[in-house]
């Protein structure tokens, strides 16, 4: 029973860290229509920045600076935002799909840097001994698990509440206006490119934060954690859950992660070891098909976007 609860807490904590990534992607894609193919890159930057800031100093690579975890998380969000502003400023004034290509390349470069800049990132060995919240209580898995679930839940709810507020604010309404009809928004004096860069940066900051939160929960990071498959997972979560809807983003993360973890466990149990790589390739085929099918048949996902977010209109109707 205790094991079940600890596993449940572990599962949910991890799922919620994906949920935060999804919330970040939702600002970019769901609300602004910006296609980011480099989610893994932004998450990875956040994880590495926070790990470097908070781990104790080691001789093998640069840092750590042994700072408090909270400072690491803030640093991660700032790094995510900074990278997004640079990429956004570069591409968003051009064609809408140049951002997709640039983020695709960005994720490759982040992965490459994590792997090759051994003196900063520890190279293929990654960074270990990342401080975990309530690490002193790690001896009692149940209490430790529940406390961590609490921490991650608080972060998720905080991000969710902030985004809901932003979405309903004038700023959020401008984003939707630009997505739906850029010319009309421009005619009202809104600088579409500037708003897009801002939205992209907010999303990137949240992804960086999510990467940091996840890294501190697991306690160890390495370049393999930030390969393109992570981007695909986060996308599948958002599309399934319902892009444009913050609750959908979190729900999608839990549902897809449950599917992913369960099918992983089933494959491990019934498929012979030499065929497991094949079986997991098939799992990815299914995720790819799921993305396409949802796009074709149910573009709004499980929970669709709310039609109106302005309290003025809602009040008027009542």
């Amino acid at each position: 029973m205790i094991e079940l609860v600890s596993y449940g807490a572990f599962f949910l904590t991890l799922a919620l860290t994906f949920g935060i990534m999804c919330l970040g992607l939702n600002v970019q894609w769901g609300q602004t229509g910006l296609f980011n193919v480099g989610v893994a890159g932004f998450v990875g930057i956040g994880a590495y920045v926070s790990a470097l800031l908070t781990t104790p100093s080691v001789p093998e690579h640069l840092g750590g600076f042994d700072l408090p975890i909270v400072l690491g998380w803030i640093g991660a969000a700032v790094a995510g935002a900074l990278a997004s502003v640079l990429l956004g400023a570069l591409t968003l004034r051009l064609r809408s799909d140049y951002l997709a290509i640039a983020t695709f390349g960005f994720a490759i470069v982040v992965q490459l840097a994590a792997l090759n800049l051994q003196s900063i990132t520890g190279g293929p060995f990654g960074i270990s001994f990342i401080p975990r919240p309530f690490g002193a209580l790690a001896g009692d898995p149940l209490v430790f698990g529940l406390l961590n679930l609490g921490v991650v839940s608080v972060v998720t709810i905080g991000v969710y509440a902030a985004l809901e507020h932003l979405m309903r604010s004038p700023w959020g309404r401008v984003l939707r206006a630009i997505r739906e009809d850029e010319q009309a928004a421009a005619a009202l004096g809104k600088n579409a490119t500037l708003f897009r860069i801002q939205a992209f940066a907010v999303g990137g900051a949240i992804m960086g934060l999510a990467g940091a939160v996840q890294a501190h929960f697991i306690g160890y990071i390495s370049p393999e954690g930030y390969v393109p498959i992570l981007t695909f997972q986060v996308w599948a979560m958002l599309i399934v859950g319902g892009s444009g809807n913050n609750r959908g983003a979190i729900l999608g993360a839990v549902v897809v992660w449950a599917f992913w973890a369960a099918s992983g466990a089933i494959i491990a149990a019934i498929v012979p070891p030499e065929e497991q790589a094949r079986a997991s390739a098939l799992k990815i085929v299914m995720i790819g098909i799921a993305i396409c099918v949802v796009l074709l048949l149910r573009p709004r996902g499980l929970l669709g976007e709310l039609k109106t977010v302005s309290r003025h209109i809602e009040d008027g109707k009542a």
């Binding site: 140049y98 997709a100 290509i101 390349g105 090759n116 790819g288 396409c292 796009l295």
Partner: protein
Amino acid sequence: MNAQIIMDGLIAGSMIGLGAVGITLTYSILRFANFAHGDMISWAAYFALAISTALGTLVPGLSQPLGPFSFGWSLPVGLLTAIICTGLLALLVDWLLFARLRQRGGAVIILVMAGFGAALTLRSFLEFVFTSKPAYFTNALQIARPLFAGAHATPDQLLGLGIAVVLVVLVHLALTRTPAGRAMRAVSENQALAGLAGVNVAKTIRVAWVFGAGLAAVAGVMAGLLVQIRPHMGHDLLLPLFAAAILGGIGSVPGAMIAGLIIGLAEAFCVQFIGAEWRAAVSFIVLVAILLLWPQGLFGKKTT
């Protein structure tokens, strides 16, 4: 020694160029960045591998090396089959996915997203069937021959370079001198207007898919012959392909080829002077530089 770097760069660049010509065609006519193009390259290589292996097993004489090359007649036959199969595959994906989304008339970015899903499916399916173990068309070893100024290349590599150049000239002529090519250019300029002027837009889009897929097939077989065949081979080429298509100017066939050669050369110099581990970053740096300085590309038209 420097001549060798240039030779290596040109050979790698001709593969990138071929793929980029396919990307630039579909990009300018279908109007979206197709992330599944790289996986067409991989599928083509596996189509050719399946056919040429089957032929070689059935008729052992067909896998006897031809002249100075490392492969027998089974590979050219495999290549032709792969071009047809990859074309059909592209039409199938278009019919299943892109055509339906086009009909709905949503934003371009939905098509990009769908291509991304299709790419994932296609690539992982290859991995499922063939596993991620690398495969080769032949086991024959080739000795690189001395050419000029100390540069060496194998006959296979020179053949690939030659085929790439000839194909680009042919595609360029096809686009500028034939009715189908004119129709494609008209559709890429203005789809609605081309339709009004009597161009069959749906058919032209199909022709563009087949053209792009055919070029992807040649690039895939070439990459498979000169490097190796892996399910991820096309995906790994995708960033250089996009960078080359944008550097050359979207829609410009000679531009894509020249840009492909430039990126191949840049990669070769990076491998020599900075380190092979940074090779994949070259395309990104080139991409950032073009978008920053010269977003319309070398031969592209200024767009608003």
